[in-house]
């Protein structure tokens, strides 16, 4: 196992820097060499990240390993391949989930249990066992409150949950499941006779190397996880959410502006997180690292076990379980006191790391590559932000330091820097210069955290190193050791450490060292835990606010959701695209399409490549009949991403607005093909087929939508619309009521229910329903219009006239309103008023879409009171087809002819 370690490290290195081809190649070679749980898992992970899900699934199934990591990844692959039964049997030994053996998951998977529960919940949702899904999601959130999407799924299932209770860290035990294994700081090992100088220095060197390796592995997956999230984004429904990286971009802009305004090299941020951190006297560097770790968990459900495995890749042999590892505290504490007191030691130790894997003569090339990597990181940061070039241009003198300020601000805002590894070192240098000597003494203790897990394999590592190194390596290493010795001397002198010249005995000296190491260990542990809890609490507070709003929005209480977002969310988060998207969605659901369009327009300008909720933007434009903007949006998205269902939904809406329904249907079908799980495309396709009166096909698609998301009220409304057009009013009312139960705030559904009740001869009930709709949404003109129409049919002409006259003030250009008023006056015998209103109706609708107006207008040219009254009453008392109406007119003409 020792022999595999550098190969595994090389493979993880390839994975961390997105070189999946080499990772797959090397993993296959390693698997052929030695087949074990570790190597199989590593190969399957390489396949999975290369999007070769079939191959990963086949490998895990064929080898049938029972380790938790392999079983989890097998279930994950099976789920993505839609083999839900096999995914379930991979997670549960009995092959079928129920309330009893769900407890089994927590024992079997340990630190992975929260993700196993989440995956189990998703499987249960697919197989329509929502009770079990809810239970599993709650367990997952209990184990790991950082899992936002588990909470989002609970909201989608219509569960009322207490967000304040979920997003709360009750004890530090959750860190074990949130961040993987942690070291028991209280474990003690006898302080042995290992104080010999040479051996001591060698151990220190090895520990430092391991620490650097660990830092490398820990920090680089951030961007890789983001990429994977993008690949998996299509799995989510309309509730798809942005990754914190996007928040980071916005905050970068904000922080750059603040830095420019203040002109300071070191940013004095008024942000809450910064203020909370500063009094502790701790540098931002380690806090940023912890927040970064938490962001990792937020972004991907796969991170913790991969991270844990990366620890394993640096440690061997692996223990049967991933529990607590022993700690040789005295030695580590003693070493830590030296390492921590002198940060540059770690920087210098960084360079020997490549020696583990490459020849001495290649070392300069490796260093060159690393420098290029950092430069590339800087360039990427510049390109990633539209404002940054301006900042650099305007404040040229402070250009080299601006990235540090941004990174500091990002850490304070709990966002992940684009290049965390570089940021950490720069921040470290920055703060070591800024802090007083006293504070400097405290900060080194935190760095020791990363040293401890590597201490157990020290001896084995040392032996392997000796075997592998050649003469040149030994000489070079001796040189480095000499340099370190000098620096340590300087450190002791500058820090005023114990003086040997005091004449104390060796025994007393050893005793003092032991006490110091004990104190350091305890203080360090407390500080670490405090910092962890502090940064986690900050994130939890933000998540509580977002969760409250998200839950209100998923229950369609849109006003309350917007109020919650605007009052409890900090400004820099409120202005992020994800939160603004939620507000835009809420505006859309309230039918405030102008406001929704304004919000989405801003989002599309600042982040043109962002696809989330662009389909809602296009539907808002569709309602407002803005063809040009909708066409431009469709063009933009087609140029960006042809593999997203959002793109084809937008294009379909564009052609639908232009009345080219066949083309729109083609595009909506393409959206369904691209992502069969995107529910909204089914609904849009159904609506389009209703417009072409292909009701059977439309019904199929609406039903497909409600199968995928039973709370998709839009599809239930669509089914009701089909029945209403087929004049099956009872069925229509049933489905409209079903839609209304899901979204009680929608007045459009209430108006439709009122219309159905009217046609079922329940006129009083219809009036009640319309009154409810008018109270709920005073801005909906259809409630007044239909109320007036019903009053007219009931013979209450004065009430009808009052309603319609008020409506005329609100919407002065609607010809149908004038037409209806004209009919009322005609019935009342006020011919001059009737003619006046018919004339206005004709003027407002010159294209003659409403043939009834022309017919009514023409019939007025031949006054005949009694037949007209009869005609009007007949028309309004019964639903009539166009043919029947014309027949009535024909009869009237006939009677006129006979008179003549």
């Amino acid at each position: 196992m020792m022999i595999q370690e550098p190969v595994q490290a090389a493979i993880w290195h390839c994975l961390n820097y997105y070189d999946f081809k080499d990772a797959v190649f090397l993993s296959e070679r390693l698997c052929s060499e030695v087949e074990s749980d570790e190597t199989i898992f590593l190969l399957a992970t390489s396949y999975f990240r290369s999007n070769q899900v079939h191959q990963a699934y086949w490998l895990l199934k064929e080898k049938a390993r029972r380790s938790p990591q392999c079983r989890f990844l097998q279930a994950k692959c099976a789920y993505e391949l839609k083999k839900y039964a096999e995914a379930e049997s991979a997670l549960i030994s009995t092959g079928f989930a129920d309330a009893k053996n769900c407890d089994e998951l927590q024992r079997d998977f340990g630190d992975l249990a929260c993700f196993a529960y989440q995956l189990m919940a998703q499987i249960c949702m697919r197989t329509e066992r929502n009770k079990l899904a809810v239970s599993a999601l709650r367990r997952a959130l209990k184990l790991n409150p950082f899992m936002w999407h588990a909470f989002a799924d609970l909201c989608l299932l219509g569960q009322d949950t207490d967000a304040a209770a979920i997003f709360q860290i009750h004890s530090t035990d959750v860190f074990n499941t949130c961040q993987g294994s942690s070291v028991n700081a209280n474990a003690m090992v006898l302080f042995g006779a290992e104080q010999q100088g040479q051996q001591h220095q060698e151990r220190q060197s090895l520990i430092t190397n391991l620490s650097n390796v660990s830092n490398y592995i820990l920090t680089t997956p951030v961007d890789q996880q983001q990429q994977q999230i993008n690949q998996n984004q299509n799995q989510h429904h309309n509730s798809n959410m942005v990754t914190p990286i996007n928040n980071n971009n916005n905050n970068n802009n904000l922080n750059s502006s603040i830095s420019m305004l203040r002109g300071g090299l070191v940013q004095n941020s008024s942000m809450l997180a910064m203020l909370e951190d500063t009094p502790m006297g701790a540098p931002q560097d380690p806090a940023g690292q912890y927040q970064q770790n938490q962001q990792l968990y937020d972004m991907s459900s796969g991170t913790p076990f991969r991270k844990q495995f990366k620890y394993l890749s640096a440690i061997s042999p692996p223990t049967p379980s991933f529990g607590i590892m022993p700690l040789t505290s005295p030695c580590t504490g003693n070493d830590g006191s030296f390492i921590g007191n002198h940060t540059p030691v770690m920087n210098i130790s960084y360079s020997p790391m490549p020696q583990m894997l490459v020849e001495v003569n290649q070392e300069p090339k490796m260093m060159g590559k690393k420098l290029k990597t950092h430069v590339g990181g800087l360039i990427n940061r510049k390109e990633g932000s539209l404002n940054k070039p301006a900042v650099f241009t305007q404040a040229g003198n402070i250009t080299p330091r601006t990235p540090n300020n941004n990174n500091v601000g990002n850490n304070g805002n709990m966002n992940v820097p684009p290049n965390p590894n570089a940021a950490v070192r720069r921040s470290s240098r920055l703060f070591s210069n800024s802090y007083s000597v006293k504070e400097n003494n405290k900060s080194p203790n935190i760095a020791n955290k990363f040293v401890q897990p590597r201490s157990p394999p020290r001896k084995a590592k040392s032996r392997m190193t000796k075997i592998c190194l050649n003469n040149e390596l030994i000489e070079d290493k001796s040189h480095h050791l000499s340099e370190k010795r000098k620096e340590k001397v300087e450190t002791i002198t500058s820090s005023g450490a114990n003086n040997n010249s005091g004449g104390r005995s060796a025994a007393e000296e050893a005793k003092v060292l032991l006490n110091n190491s004990l104190n350091n260990a305890q203080t360090m542990a407390h500080q670490l835990m405090g910092l962890k809890k502090q940064s986690a609490d900050g994130l939890m507070a933000l998540l509580r606010g977002l969760a409250e709003a998200y839950q209100l929005l998923s229950n369609f209480q849109c006003k309350a959701a917007i109020k919650q977002l605007e009052t409890t969310i900090p400004k820099h988060h409120l202005n992020s695209s994800w939160v603004q998207s939620l507000i835009g969605l809420a505006r859309y659901e309230m039918r405030e399409y102008e406001a929704a369009v304004a919000i989405f327009e801003t989002i599309h300008k600042t982040e043109p490549c962002r696809l989330d909720y662009m389909e809602i933007y296009s539907s808002s434009l569709w309602h407002l009949q803005r063809e040009v903007e909708l066409s431009a949006l469709a063009q933009d998205l087609i140029n960006q991403d042809k593999t997203s269902p959002v793109t084809w939904c937008v294009s379909g809406n564009c052609f639908s607005l232009q009345k080219e329904h066949e083309t729109a249907i083609k595009f909506f079908k393409r959206a369904v093909q691209v992502d069969p799980d995107f529910v909204y495309s089914y609904t849009l396709l159904g609506h389009e087929l209703v417009l072409t009166e292909e009701f059977d096909k439309a019904m199929d698609y609406f039903r497909a939508a409600v199968v995928r998301d039973p709370r998709h009220y839009n599809a239930w409304y669509g089914i009701g619309t089909i029945y209403s057009k087929q004049e099956k009013y009872e069925l229509a009312e049933i489905h409209y009521v079903k839609a209304l139960k899901i979204n009680p705030q929608n007045s459009v559904i209430l108006v439709h229910i009122g219309a159905m009740q009217f046609y079922m001869k329940k006129k009083d009930l219809s009036l009640q329903t319309l009154n409810t709709a008018a109270t709920l949404d005073p801005k909906n003109p259809l409630t007044r219009f239909h109320r007036g129409s019903i009053y007219f049919s009931l013979g209450k002409y004065q009430e009808a006239l009052r309603e319609l006259e008020e409506l005329k003030e609100v919407v002065p250009k609607e010809s149908v309103v004038f037409y209806l008023i004209g009919k009322i006056h005609k019935t009342l015998g006020n011919m001059d008023l009737a003619l006046m209103h018919f004339s206005w109706a004709t003027d407002l609708d010159p294209k003659g879409a409403n043939n009834q107006i022309k017919d009514a207008f023409d019939s007025m040219a031949h006054p005949s009171c009694c037949p007209a009254n009869t005609t009007a009453l007949d028309v309004d008392l019964e639903p009539t087809s166009e043919r029947s109406d014309d027949s009535t007119q024909a009869q009237q003409d006939g009677s006129y002819d006979s008179d003549y």
Partner: protein, 195 residues
């Protein structure tokens, strides 16, 4: 009815350049329903069949290969409301293949077709609109339409037709919330439906 038919025989076709079925479809008052029907022809030259009539390409055409009259049969799966038929033909290109007299028939099946009207074409170039009337009603509900080419220009035997589009009126009156007609303003329309 007879008098009405006589009047149609003598009527001149409207100017072609003013008629565009696609523009009418885009206005939203009519929609194209030909795709919902089963099309068949009395005869066709190999490679010049139904697909040429329905490909939206004006350069391709149906060419008959039999005795007059040449028939285009359009059978719908359900009773469908029909208001207009558009035929694209071009005398400059087709010359003696251009139809000169067309009869429109409707019914339930082949055995009970009733002739609705006969239309004479005089050197048509472009779209020709044939409004469908049954007495005073401006549309018909039918299972089957038949377009018969009775004669061609210059006494040609076979005929060319480049495109045929069938229009149905958008039936706003069937939608319960639009009993009094379609709403014309955005303020009304955006509250009329959910999307």
């Amino acid at each position: 009815m007879a008098a009405s038919m006589d009047e149609d025989i003598t009527a001149n076709p409207p100017p072609s350049s003013e008629e565009d079925p696609l523009a009418e479809e885009r206005l939203g008052f009519v929609r194209e329903v030909g795709a919902q029907a089963v099309w068949s022809l009395s005869s066709c030259k190999p490679g010049f069949g139904v697909e040429r009539l329905r490909d939206n390409i004006m350069d391709t055409y149906w060419q008959s290969d039999g005795q007059l009259p040449h028939l285009v049969n359009i059978q719908f799966h359900k009773r469908t409301n029909i208001s207009q038929i558009y035929i694209y033909t071009d005398y400059k290109l087709d010359e003696s293949y251009t139809p000169s007299r067309i009869s429109i028939r409707s019914g339930t099946n082949f055995n009970d077709l009733q002739e609705l009207q006969v239309m004479d074409l005089t050197e048509p170039t472009g779209w020709v609109q044939i409004p469908i009337k049954d007495g005073n009603v401006k549309s018909i509900r039918t299972f089957m339409l038949q377009i018969a080419v009775i004669s061609n220009h210059q006494n040609g035997r076979d005929t060319h037709m480049r495109q045929i589009r069938i229009h149905a009126p958008v039936e706003g009156k069937h939608y319960p919330l639009e009993l009094f007609g379609k709403f014309g303003t955005v303020d009304f329309q955006k509250f009329a439906t959910i999307r």
